[in-house]
């Protein structure tokens, strides 16, 4: 840039110098010629005056020779007839070599004066008439080599001046260019810093000119960009912090499935590292996560959610948000809905079980009432028998309703389940007695005779009754054993039957119904067991089942023990 500018300056200077030289050269040449004519004419007039006063030819000749020598001019004198008085050669110049000699002679003889320049200005000729003593004509010829020399000098000087001008202007141009380019570079460097995202270097204007204005504009642009970037960064920071708080895994990927963002919940849910800048992993054998993610980038893709079970016991809701028209980033939102689905299934099952549990006593009461009205009330023995049915089933309903209410309140957290010390052996004995004709024994290990569990009395009774009734159904009237075992701060209650047991595959299913609680398979073993499970869970206890075909089934409840010093001793 600066070299171009220097060259431009030099070029302009050269053109100017040439133009000036042209004008100046022409003018000085004209002036020098004029001067030469004046000198020649002056010499001629001086010679003519002296010749007019001369008295002899000799005098004329010597006078002319002197003048010619002193004035460096060739002088020729002719008489009135036109014949040469002086020699035809004077001061080294032969007059007859003049092309306009005849013209000069006749002009002068006719009494007129003439001054001419011939031979491209190298010769100045003057002719004038002579009067006085020696009438005739005088021709003066001035050869002017000094004129040429003067012209040459002038032209040389002009060339030199032009060269100087070119050189000086080139240097000046360079300096100016350097100054300008330095300022432009300063502004350019500032713009480059902004382009690289560095907004911390202010740009002060040096002079209040156009470049200064540019610097001011760029600096205000820098400040506004910095403000915008700070706002954007703050925005992004807030967004990332918000995303970190989410229960959902959020992953942003580009078209090549390169991860642009992933919160820590996403790492957890995907189960492997989802690192920024790396490819989206494909961690599950049963479901291709990458395939699902890449479907977002199909032209017709719309936001949608799919439920998948990538591993056997977990259900994920995967929401795919395709990129907006101009953007290239798609967002995958992962939600672990296993717990929600489990809860929903458990709730469905619970309602179904509760309804089922209520239906049996209601059916018994309705039947008893119907036969009473149908005539049984007339016979005291039948009447008492069916009234007993009504009473027994009403009590059962009342207990059940109470248990359900307690559970429902606990579940909605309207009322926490208040745990209290419950002596186990008396309660088990009472249940065994109430269950009637079945052969039920209550056995207690040596350390557990006074076992006291931390439990809710009615919920525990309901749970144990349900388990006992269930076991009796399976035991086909066989023996049922309640066993209480103290173990390490906890107390375990086993409800063991000696029935046919449950096949290994079915144990899985029973267990399933306890814990996976699939509502559609509630019938059969599972009646009431959901309530048992809820009750035990509500008392912060655990429930397990163990069964062997031919040996029987044992359901175990483990509750916290209220350690009793006397019992331990």
């Amino acid at each position: 840039m600066r070299w171009w500018l220097a060259l431009a300056f030099a070029g302009i200077a050269a053109l100017t110098a040439i133009a000036v030289a042209q004008v100046f050269g022409a003018r000085s040449e004209a002036a020098i010629r004029e001067r030469a004519r004046d000198l020649t004419a002056g010499s001629a007039v001086t010679a003519a005056l002296e010749i007019s006063n001369a008295t002899s030819v000799e005098e004329i000749r010597s006078m002319v020779a002197d003048l010619a020598a002193s004035r460096a001019v060739s002088l020729f004198v002719l008489d009135a007839k036109g014949s040469f008085v002086t020699p035809e050669r004077s001061h080294g110049f032969a007059v007859r070599a003049l092309p306009n000699f005849a013209e000069l002679r006749s002009t002068a003889l006719q009494g007129r004066r003439t001054v001419e320049t011939i031979d491209h200005g190298r010769l100045v000729t003057a002719a004038l008439p002579l009067r006085g003593n020696n009438p005739g004509a005088l021709i003066a010829v001035a050869r002017r080599p000094d004129l040429e020399a003067a012209l040459g000098i002038v032209q040389k000087e002009i060339v030199r001046a032009a060269l100087w001008a070119v050189a000086i202007s080139a240097v000046v141009g360079l300096v100016v260019a350097l100054l300008i380019t330095r300022r432009i570079r300063r502004v350019g460097a500032a713009a480059a810093r902004i382009e690289q995202g560095n907004f911390d270097h202010p740009l002060e204007p040096l002079f209040p000119d156009e470049l200064g204005e540019l610097a001011v504009t760029i600096d205000s642009m820098r400040r506004r960009l910095r403000t915008s970037f700070e706002e954007l960064e703050g925005e992004r920071d807030r967004l990332e912090r918000l995303l970190e708080q989410l229960q959902e895994g959020v992953i942003a990927v580009d078209r090549e499935l390169t991860v642009e963002f992933a919160n820590s919940r996403a790492h957890q849910l995907v189960g492997s590292t989802v690192a920024r800048g790396e490819q989206l992993p494909d961690p599950w054998p049963l479901f291709s996560f990458r395939e699902a993610a890449s479907s977002m980038f199909e032209p017709s893709a719309t936001a949608h959610t799919m439920h998948v079970r990538p591993v056997s016991d977990r259900t994920y809701a995967i929401t795919l948000l395709p990129p907006r028209a101009a953007a290239s980033t798609g967002v995958v939102v992962l939600t672990d809905v296993s717990e929600r689905e489990r809860r929903e299934r458990a709730e469905r099952e619970f309602v179904t079980n509760a309804a089922h549990e209520l239906r049996t006593p209601l059916a018994a009461i309705a039947s008893a009432v119907e036969v009473l009205q149908g005539g049984a009330k007339e016979q005291p023995a039948d009447r008492d028998r069916f009234l007993e049915v009504v009473e027994r089933q009403t009590t059962r309903l009342t207990n059940l309703a109470q248990a359900l209410l307690t559970l429902a309140r606990a579940q909605t957290r309207a009322e926490s389940i208040r745990l209290e010390p419950v002596p186990l052996v008396p309660m088990l004995s009472e249940i065994a007695e109430n269950l009637g004709d079945a052969e039920i024994s209550v056995s207690v290990d040596a350390h557990a005779t006074d076992s006291v569990a931390l439990a809710h009395r009615e919920l525990l009774r309901q749970a144990l009754e349900n388990l006992a009734e269930n076991a009796l159904k399976h035991a086909s009237g066989g023996r049922l054993t309640f066993r209480v075992v103290e173990e390490d701060g906890h107390v375990r209650i086993d409800v063991a039957d000696e029935g046919p047991g449950i096949r290994a595959t079915d144990v899985e299913r029973v267990f399933d119904r306890f814990y996976r609680a699939d509502g559609s398979e509630v019938d059969g073993f599972g009646i009431g067991l959901a309530i048992v499970r809820e009750a035990i869970a509500g008392m912060e206890g655990t429930l397990s089942i163990e069964s062997r075909p031919g040996t029987g089934t044992t359901v175990s409840i483990v509750l916290r023990s209220v350690t009793n010093g006397r019992a331990r001793a």
Binding site: A364, A368, E370, V371, K473, H474, S476, D523
Partner: protein, 86 residues
């Protein structure tokens, strides 16, 4: 000869009034508390009608039954409430 009914239910407080009502209507009623006992009775004698709880200890009818049988026999229907009419 009266119609013979086999009544199968594991809830004795349901068996008692239902068998009583059926007997009042003139049926001859035998009852069983679980599936295996019911099978023994059914093998020993012939019955005209079997009223069966679909979910029984020792015999899971629902596993081998058809939908139609379920509709008739399940305790989810209201039919057991009027056994005499059956």
């Amino acid at each position: 000869m009266s119609t013979r009914v086999l009544l199968v239910d594991d809830e004795r407080d349901i068996v008692a009034p239902v068998s009583y009502a059926l007997e009042q209507e003139g049926f001859e009623v035998r009852s069983a508390g679980d599936g295996l006992a019911a099978l023994d009775l059914a093998r020993a004698e012939r019955y005209d009608v079997v009223v069966l709880d679909v979910v029984l200890p020792g015999l899971e009818i629902c596993r081998v039954d058809t939908a139609a049988a379920r509709a008739w026999l399940t305790n989810r229907t209201d039919r057991w409430q009027r056994p005499g009419a059956g």
